[in-house]
C-alpha cells in the first residue's frame, strides 16, 4: 500500500513538473492566432482570456486533477480534440510497436545469448556477437531510425534493432553465470539433455533477474520509441509527446508525462518486486570498481 501511495505521488509530481515547465516556457501564453489581422479586438481579447486561464500552473494542475477524478483528461488545443480521444486513438499504434519491439528484441537478445553460455569455447561467436552489440550501442536510436528508414524498414524493426543489443548484453552475463553453476555441471554429468538443462536449470535459476530485466526493458522501449516514432512519422504516443512538447500544449503534455511516469514507475516497481533482495543490494553498488 505505501508503495502504491508513493507511486501515485511520484506520478502526480511528474505531472506537476510538466505543467510548470510548459507554463514557464517562452511564448507559453501566446496564441499564434493573435497574429491574424482579420480578428477583431473582441476576438483577440477572448483568445487572451482563454490563454490566461493557464497563467497559474498550480491552479491549472489542480483543475486537471479534479477533472481526472471524473475521468476527464482535458482538451488539446494544438490537436483540437479531447485528450482522452487522442490517447485512445494513438495508444494502439504505440502498444503494437512496443509489443513487436519487445518480443523481437527478447527473442533475438536471449537467442544470441544462450549459445554463448551453452558453448563456452565458442569465443569467436561470443566475440562477434558482443562486438556487434557494442557497435549498435554506440549509435543513438534516432540514427538507427534514419538508417533503417533509408533501407525501407518499419518502426517496430528499428525498435528491435535498438533494444536487442541492450537485452543481449544483460542476458549474456546472466546466462553465462547460470550455465557455470555447479548444478548444471552435475546435470550434464548425469546425462540430462541440453534442452532440459536450458529450461529446467539455466532459465529457471536466472528467471528472477530475467523477469526484472523484462520489466526494465519496457521503460527502455518507451524511451527509445519517442525519437523512433518522431523520425519514422508513426502516429503513436511518442510522436504525440514530441508534438505536445514543441507546441507547448500544457494539458496534453501533463497527461502524457503522467502516463509515461505511471508506466515506467509501475515497471520499476514490478522489477523491484521480482528481484531478490541480494541482487538489489548488488545493483546498488553495480558501478563500484
Amino acid at each position: 500500500m505505501p508503495q502504491l501511495v508513493r507511486m501515485a505521488l511520484l506520478v502526480l509530481a511528474a505531472g506537476l513538473i510538466g505543467a510548470f515547465l510548459a507554463r514557464y516556457s517562452p511564448g507559453a501564453l501566446v496564441d499564434e492566432r493573435e497574429l491574424d489581422q482579420r480578428l477583431s479586438e473582441d476576438s483577440l481579447t477572448a483568445l487572451r482570456a482563454t490563454r490566461g486561464e493557464d497563467a497559474n500552473a498550480g491552479a491549472t494542475f489542480a483543475r486537471y486533477v479534479r477533472g481526472l477524478a471524473r475521468g476527464d483528461l482535458g482538451y488539446s488545443r494544438s490537436n483540437h480534440a479531447p485528450i482522452r480521444e487522442l490517447i485512445l486513438d494513438r495508444a494502439p499504434e504505440t502498444l503494437r510497436e512496443l509489443a513487436i519491439g519487445l518480443a523481437g528484441s527478447w527473442l533475438l537478445g536471449l537467442g544470441f545469448a544462450i549459445p554463448v553460455g551453452r558453448w563456452r569455447r565458442a569465443w569467436i561467436y561470443d566475440g562477434a556477437a558482443s562486438l556487434t552489440a557494442g557497435l549498435l550501442l554506440c549509435l543513438p536510436a534516432a540514427l538507427v531510425a534514419y538508417l533503417c528508414l533509408a533501407a525501407g524498414s518499419k518502426s517496430a524493426v528499428v525498435l528491435v534493432i535498438v533494444l536487442t543489443p541492450k537485452i543481449f548484453r544483460f542476458t549474456r552475463n546472466l546466462v553465462v553465470e547460470a550455465y557455470g553453476a555447479s548444478h548444471v555441471s552435475m546435470a550434464r554429468a548425469r546425462g540430462i539433455t541440453e534442452s532440459r538443462i536450458l529450461w529446467g536449470h539455466v532459465l529457471r535459476s536466472a528467471a528472477p533477474q530475467l523477469l526484472a530485466l523484462a520489466a526494465t526493458s519496457a521503460s527502455m522501449a518507451i524511451g527509445a520509441a519517442i525519437p523512433i516514432e518522431t523520425i519514422c512519422d508513426v502516429p503513436g504516443l511518442g510522436r504525440l509527446a514530441w508534438q505536445a512538447a514543441t507546441a507547448r500544449d500544457l494539458p496534453l503534455l501533463v497527461n502524457l508525462t503522467m502516463l509515461v511516469a505511471l508506466i515506467t514507475i509501475a515497471a520499476a516497481a514490478l522489477a523491484e518486486a521480482m528481484t531478490p533482495a541480494e541482487t538489489t543490494a548488488r545493483r546498488e553498488g553495480a558501478l563500484s570498481p
Partner: protein, 267 residues
C-alpha cells in the same frame, strides 16, 4: 593494461587533440561557404565533399567534434558534482533529507531520460544564438543526469558512514561538512570517477539525438547531431561519405566503452 584499452585511449587522445586545435587540421572554417561547389562529391580539395550550402564537410566534422567531444565531459562533470553533493548529503544525513533526495531522484528516473530532455529543451527558445544553444544543451544534460549517479553515491556513503574511521572522526568532533568532503568523498571518488566515464558517452549520444531532432546545437555551429541530420533524406546509402560522422561517433563512443571500468551487467 590491455592493448585494446591502450589503443582506445590513444585514439581518444588523438581525436581530442584534433578537436582542441581544429584550425591546424581543418581545411576551412566550419561556416566558410564555397558557393560555386554546393553538394560536391569527395575530391582532393574537399575530402568528404560539401553540404548543400557549399560548406566543407571535413572541416565541419572536425569543428563538430570539438563541440560534442569537449562539452560532454563538461556536462558529465556537472552532473557528477551535483550527484556527489546530493548523494553525499542524502547518505550522510538520513531521515527526511534522505527521503526527499531519494524521492527527487526517483522522480527524475521515473521519466525516460530522453522524454525529460525533450520536454525541457522544447520549453526553451528555439531561436537562440549558437553559443547559447551549446550552453543550454549541455547544461541541461548535466542538470538532468544527476539522479542515477546520486543513488550510487548515496549507497556508497551509507555504507561508509558506519565504518571505523568515520566513527573515529565523529568521536573527534569532526563537523558533518568536513566529514563529507575530507573523509567520505575521497573514498567514494573512484565510484564517482566511474560514473563520470559512464556519463560521457551517454551525453555524447544524447546530444546527437537532440541534434538530430532539431533541438540541439544551433546552426551554423556544427555538432555531431547537426551533421547527422544530413542523413534525414535517406541519401546515405548512395553517398557513403555521408556516413563519416557515424563512423567517428561509433569509434569515439566505442572507445569510451572500452576504457570504462569493468561493468557489472547483472541486475
Amino acid at each position: 593494461m590491455k592493448p585494446i584499452r591502450t589503443a582506445a585511449i590513444v585514439f581518444l587522445a588523438a581525436v581530442a587533440l584534433a578537436a582542441i586545435t581544429p584550425q591546424f587540421w581543418a581545411p576551412a572554417r566550419y561556416d566558410a561557404q564555397f558557393r560555386e561547389t554546393p553538394d560536391a562529391s569527395p575530391s582532393n580539395r574537399f575530402p568528404l565533399g560539401t553540404d548543400a550550402l557549399g560548406r566543407d564537410r571535413l572541416s565541419r566534422l572536425i569543428y563538430g567534434t570539438r563541440v560534442s567531444l569537449l562539452l560532454a565531459p563538461a556536462a558529465a562533470t556537472l552532473s557528477c558534482l551535483a550527484a556527489a553533493a546530493l548523494g553525499g548529503i542524502a547518505g550522510l544525513a538520513g531521515g527526511w533529507i534522505d527521503r526527499a533526495i531519494v524521492s527527487a531522484a526517483d522522480l527524475f528516473l521515473s521519466l525516460p531520460w530522453l522524454f525529460l530532455l525533450l520536454m525541457v529543451r522544447a520549453g526553451l527558445p528555439l531561436n537562440v544564438s549558437p553559443a547559447a544553444s551549446v550552453t543550454i544543451t549541455f547544461l541541461l544534460l548535466g542538470a538532468l543526469g544527476w539522479a542515477a549517479p546520486a543513488r550510487v553515491i548515496r549507497a556508497a556513503v551509507r555504507e561508509l558512514k558506519d565504518s571505523d574511521f568515520v566513527l573515529q572522526a565523529r568521536a573527534s568532533g569532526c563537523r558533518q561538512s568536513r566529514l563529507l568532503w575530507r573523509h567520505l568523498m575521497p573514498n567514494v571518488a573512484p565510484i564517482l570517477w566511474a560514473q563520470f566515464w559512464v556519463a560521457v558517452p551517454v551525453y555524447i549520444l544524447a546530444e546527437t539525438t537532440l541534434g538530430m531532432l532539431g533541438l540541439g546545437v544551433a546552426e551554423p555551429l556544427p555538432s555531431w547531431g547537426g551533421l547527422l541530420r544530413e542523413l534525414e533524406d535517406g541519401a546515405a546509402l548512395s553517398h557513403l561519405w555521408l556516413l563519416a560522422p557515424v563512423l567517428l561517433l561509433a569509434a569515439v563512443v566505442g572507445s569510451f566503452q572500452l576504457i570504462l571500468p569493468r561493468e557489472d551487467y547483472s541486475l
